[in-house]
């Protein structure tokens, strides 16, 4: 045991899928076992924060943090693991970009509490009692984490060394990361440069083997994926199904298009892109049918054409809202007349 490195895995605001993904690496898990001792893994076994707190700084080699930052506890543990770890990895789309929980940035704490503790049909809470961060009861005092207005990414609260996108990261990408750490520990090989995204630098379309229309690509009409039976060979976007592939980083092996489903963008934006949604919006707008009679179309007809994209925010930022340029919704103070 003495020579083993120490690793930790924690979940913030996530679904547990990332924890399971780490176990999914089949025989590679034996490499991990030969190499490492897991010192902290709340979903796997009982461990106390106090034990981690008592460890010397930098005594954990790698921390895998999955899930977004939703409350003060997520942030507190992230900071603690950062101090105790040599390498901090944002594991999965939630930690990297906010992921699905990040879509809650279209609302805020007040509205979430209103829904969860009052409006849901199964809730009986006439006095609208909501969680307090601090409460005195006869038995003593209790503290609960503070729920934030906005969901944050891991790198908003701590310094992150590597990013492993994916919902959850795929087995081959995890194997890549494990190999890199193993080589570093056993052979002294250099770790990848800080900030590396452990995935591909290409776009998903580059690794997708569906046939694309190469010149004069155009979409006549946009379909929701349940509205048509997709041709299994042709590019989904060419068939009018919104596939986020053109704006998304490769690395998953284009899993969803392989299963005849459009990409929803869980690998996040490509290297050159600041805003996943803006990039997809641009790609999609350029593909929509431009005809000879274009100059005669009225502004209203154009709006109608674009209204075919139902819920652009939810479609284009399904995994990356907290990492987008605007990060969350805002409220106008004034309403314009007319």
């Amino acid at each position: 045991m003495a020579d083993k490195i120490k690793i930790a895995q924690y979940w913030g605001a996530g679904c547990g899928g990332c924890d399971v993904a780490l176990l999914d690496i089949d025989a590679k898990i034996l490499d991990v076992h030969a190499l490492a001792e897991v010192v902290f893994w709340p979903i796997g076994f009982d461990g106390k924060l106090a034990d981690i707190e008592a460890m010397p700084d930098k005594s954990i080699t790698v921390s895998f943090y999955n899930g977004a930052i939703r409350n003060s506890e997520n942030e507190h543990v992230a900071k603690m693991l950062r101090e105790k770890s040599v390498v901090m990895i944002a594991f999965g789309s939630c930690a990297c970009f906010g992921g699905t929980p990040g879509l809650a940035n279209v609302t805020n704490k007040e509205e979430v509490f209103q829904t969860v503790y009052k409006d849901t049909a199964s809730t009986d809470n006439p006095d609208f009692i909501t969680p307090q961060t601090h409460l005195k009861v006869p038995e003593g005092e209790v503290d609960l984490p503070e729920f934030y207005d906005s969901v944050k990414t891991l790198d908003e609260v701590v310094d992150v060394d590597y990013f492993m996108p994916g919902c959850p990261p795929t087995v081959n990408l995890i194997a890549l990361a494990v190999d890199a750490v193993a080589k570093h520990v056993t052979e002294g090989a250099d770790l990848p440069p800080k900030g590396t995204v452990i995935a591909s630098d290409k776009t998903l379309c580059d690794e997708c083997d569906r046939e694309r229309v190469e010149t004069g690509r155009r979409i006549e009409k946009i379909y929701q994926s349940y509205e048509i039976k997709a041709d299994p060979k042709k590019c989904l976007l060419d068939q009018g199904i919104i596939c986020i592939g053109p704006a998304t980083r490769a690395g998953c092996g284009s899993m969803c298009p392989k299963a005849n489903m459009p990409c929803r963008g869980c690998m996040g934006p490509t290297k050159a892109v600041m805003d996943h949604g803006g990039s997809m919006l641009s790609a999609l707008s350029s593909l929509l049918n431009i005809t000879d009679s274009e100059s005669k179309l009225s502004e209203e007809q154009i709006i109608e054409l674009m209204m075919q994209v139902k819920d652009p925010l939810g479609t284009f930022y399904a995994f990356t809202l907290p990492k987008s340029l605007l990060r969350r919704t805002v409220t106008e103070k004034r309403k314009r007349k007319g």
Partner: protein, 153 residues
């Protein structure tokens, strides 16, 4: 985008006087920038709250540019290009028109009044249209008041 009534919002007098809107205007090189130039050399009077950024074609205005402008606190963004059928690069402005329409829907989902983003067709000879567009857009932005960015944090 029809409202031209100056400062018709519900703001207090003080706010109204203090507010100096930040307006970003993207102008394509071949038509709108020349139109803006003409407005300038013709000494047409306009409210001084806009900054012009010249791009080769309105289609060069990546949606990211617009989102970035709003992220950095712009109160309004105007994208100006050649009239339909007049784009120097044939169909650039048709792409622009789609993007801006979709961006306005998106901005509305983000909670912004879509009136903060405007598209206008202004030719090289339309100095007066440039002036009128700036005056009207400034009115709309004035009426809306400061950008809500950061309001819900």
């Amino acid at each position: 985008m029809s409202s031209t009534a100056p400062n018709a919002g519900g703001q207090t007098k003080a706010e109204e006087e203090d507010f100096e809107p930040k307006i970003i205007v993207f102008c394509c090189n071949w038509c709108s920038y020349a139109g803006a130039d003409l407005a300038g050399v013709s000494r047409l009077q306009m409210p001084p709250y806009f900054r012009v950024i010249r791009v080769m074609c309105s289609a060069r205005v990546d949606p990211e540019f617009v989102l970035r402008a709003f992220q950095k606190g712009a109160d309004g963004v105007l994208v100006a290009g050649c009239h339909p059928a007049d784009c120097h690069y044939i169909g650039g402005n048709y792409r622009t028109r789609r993007r801006i329409a979709l961006l306005r829907i998106l901005l509305q989902q983000f909670g912004f009044d879509p009136g903060r983003l405007k598209l206008a067709w202004i030719s090289a000879g339309e100095g007066e249209k440039f002036q009128k567009t700036i005056i009207e857009f400034t009115d709309v932005v004035n009426e809306l008041g400061p950008s809500p960015i950061g309001s819900s944090d």
